[in-house]
Symmetry: C2
Subunit: 395 residues, 2 copies
């Protein structure tokens, strides 16, 4: 046997393990310290009531001869595909149910979608970036081109018409920067992709955090996107499904090349290499999309966005530059006083007992920046901000 040699080129990420080790060491040395964690990218509120009730009913069904469901369609039950279609219709986006594929999460599909692409494609990823975009392509031996996201472009890089690429990764609202593309910017990306016959992988996992009606929540709000964009989304951040696992991917029927249809290829890939999302979980996800479920999801999101507002207000008062914090659970702040990412991490941990994520862990352009998340407890978030305010007002 010969193993995939490209795995040797995949870099180990020590970001979160180093953070964990440093925090553990600090706590051991200071057992009484009240450390507040704002580095976590995971939700903390319980599942919406509607989802819990729907899943409890589905579990009971699975225990009866009449209600039992075995293998379901790999691409998802119609009840959920149609619910997602209707969710898009509310955004004025018309999709067919068979363009929607139910998955166990955006991360899986973002990786697996690459199965459909030749190794020779050139991919374009922003820096800083969610590391999965880079690692999945490195594993396949694909050439990666980076585009700089930085303070000059508000961490929203725009296309370079001179560069030829095949696969473009966009994430908006962005992880880790919280920055959100507006319609005009997305239109430029769609036009660019179509001119290059490239495909956009649009990661919309945080779209439910957008409250500004002027900002696009789906790339399909832009004309022509159905000819060039695959959209990945998830119930993880909308409905707190990070441990319950359900997402969906939109593969429009208008995308293809060389007589191959991306939609048909993905259907073939999923029916061959996937067996669908648990029936129980699909019932929970469908409940999140009912009027009652949506109201409960919005309540949870409002809780996190209020945290983000408290954080943004604090940084604004302190005169610290940042992106995100509106329409996003992430805040991407410039480290004060010219500190480096890890230098600021140590400083904040020691002086304020607050933990965040060093921006350098997301790419070279992240050096000198720091990510805070709004997924924590309300009181702890307020306390963390009060500590930062005392710390930086003094200086």
């Amino acid at each position: 046997m010969r193993l995939n040699q490209h795995y040797k080129a995949v870099k180990e990420s020590y970001l979160f393990s180093t953070v964990a080790k440093k925090v553990a060491a600090y706590q051991q040395a200071h057992p009484g310290a009240d450390v507040i964690r704002m580095g976590i990218g995971d939700v903390t509120l319980p599942l919406p009531r509607a989802c819990v009730e729907a899943m409890a009913a589905a579990v009971a069904e699975q225990g009866t001869k009449e209600g039992f469901r075995g293998y379901g369609p790999e691409q998802g039950y119609d009840f959920l595909r149609c619910a997602v279609r209707d969710y898009y219709a509310e955004k004025q986006v018309g999709l067919d149910a068979d363009e929607i594929f139910i998955s166990d999460g955006a991360k899986s599909d973002l990786g697996n979608m690459l199965d459909l692409f030749d190794q020779d494609n050139v991919v374009l990823v922003p820096d800083p970036v969610y590391p999965v975009y880079v690692d999945t392509n490195t594993m396949a031996g694909r050439m990666i081109r980076y585009m700089d996201a930085n303070a000059q472009n508000d961490f929203l890089p725009m296309p370079d018409s001179a560069a030829d690429v095949d696969v473009i990764y966009l994430c908006s609202p962005n992880n880790p920067t919280g920055a959100v593309y507006d319609r005009a910017q997305l239109r430029q990306w769609v036009d660019y992709a179509r001119s290059k016959h490239a495909v956009i992988f649009y990661d919309a996992a945080y779209e439910a955090f957008i409250t500004d009606p002027e900002l696009p929540r789906s790339i399909y709000e832009i004309e022509g996107a159905k000819e060039c964009a695959v959209e990945f989304n998830s119930f993880s951040k909308m409905a707190g499904f990070t441990g319950t696992r359900c997402g969906y991917t939109v593969v429009p029927k208008g995308i293809g090349a060389d007589g191959l249809s991306l939609n048909k290829m993905w259907l073939r890939r999923q029916t061959t290499k996937f067996n669908g999302v648990p029936y129980i979980v699909q019932r929970g996800a469908a409940a999140a999309l009912t009027a009652e479920g949506q109201a409960q999801c919005r309540e949870n999101i409002a809780y996190y966005l209020e945290n983000a507002r408290v954080m943004s207000d604090t940084l604004s008062r302190l005169g610290i530059w940042f992106t995100g914090g509106e329409d996003s659970p992430y805040i991407w702040m410039r480290c004060p006083n010219g500190m480096g990412s890890w230098e600021f991490f140590d400083f904040l941990l020691e002086k304020a007992n607050v933990v965040g994520t060093p921006g350098e862990g997301f790419g070279v352009n992240g050096e000198g920046y720091f990510r805070l998340t709004a997924f924590g407890d309300k009181d702890k978030t307020a306390e963390a901000m009060a500590r930062m305010e005392r710390l930086f007002r003094q200086r």
Copy 2:
């Protein structure tokens, strides 16, 4: 963009859709006919009580602030990995918990494991075969060599020491033939794989149907297998999880090449391209492995095996040659009177209103054979066999 051209070589399978169309047409023409389906490869009994109760409790936990669980470890919670480790220990197989990876099913992992292998590897698959082994390799452009399974070798092909291969697919108890390798035969495969520095993909999805204590339920019961075999298993057929989705894959730490460890590569692959199985489902799977859960699983399996016994007895009385039917939910019968697979399908549907699966759909060596499954209702299985007995005794 350039799409993966190998998808053009993937054959469409019309097997189950053709079966469905023929049955629908027959029923439309004969509305009163009592058609019994014995082609289905899906379980029909409800989930064991222990699993239902554990999942109901987990759903409730997810609805509380204290009990809520977000992202879990991609490779599975320790409580389940350890339960699987203990399940192997009962078979006298010692594994470390970090050699066990919890998955959403054997089908996903059988396909995704190929990510770790170079395109140039030569794979060996039996014919007839579970089509997924072939399609996943075709999608990756890999060369496939077939080995003949037929009546001469009781549908249990053995290694050809003259042939060089890299990846070997074995499935025992086999789908579609129900044939089971004994220890001496598996030892030959392990020795062969080691001599070729090849890896065995051992699909053990039906091992829970083995009741004969002389037959191996894991390839790791054979010495040396930990140096050459990856084992795929699932709760689908053991605990009725076909719609609940949970499996596990064993990647021993002793397998590697060129300085790469397969165990470490798989961990890297899964942490990058997968986000774990739902917490709720993992609780259900762990419950299936408790003493109470195992007793309930064995009760369901005994029900299906009793169906298999009724079927085997009928075929034996009629003098029809078959494999399987013991230690397996599948029966692979020779079509009576020299009929072809599809000819027999039509004949059986018309004359007995019984539906099975034509063997030709699983490969060229399946022509002239027919698959029946024991997953149906007890009374309907008995009725189907009574009809077959009347039909073939008359002739």
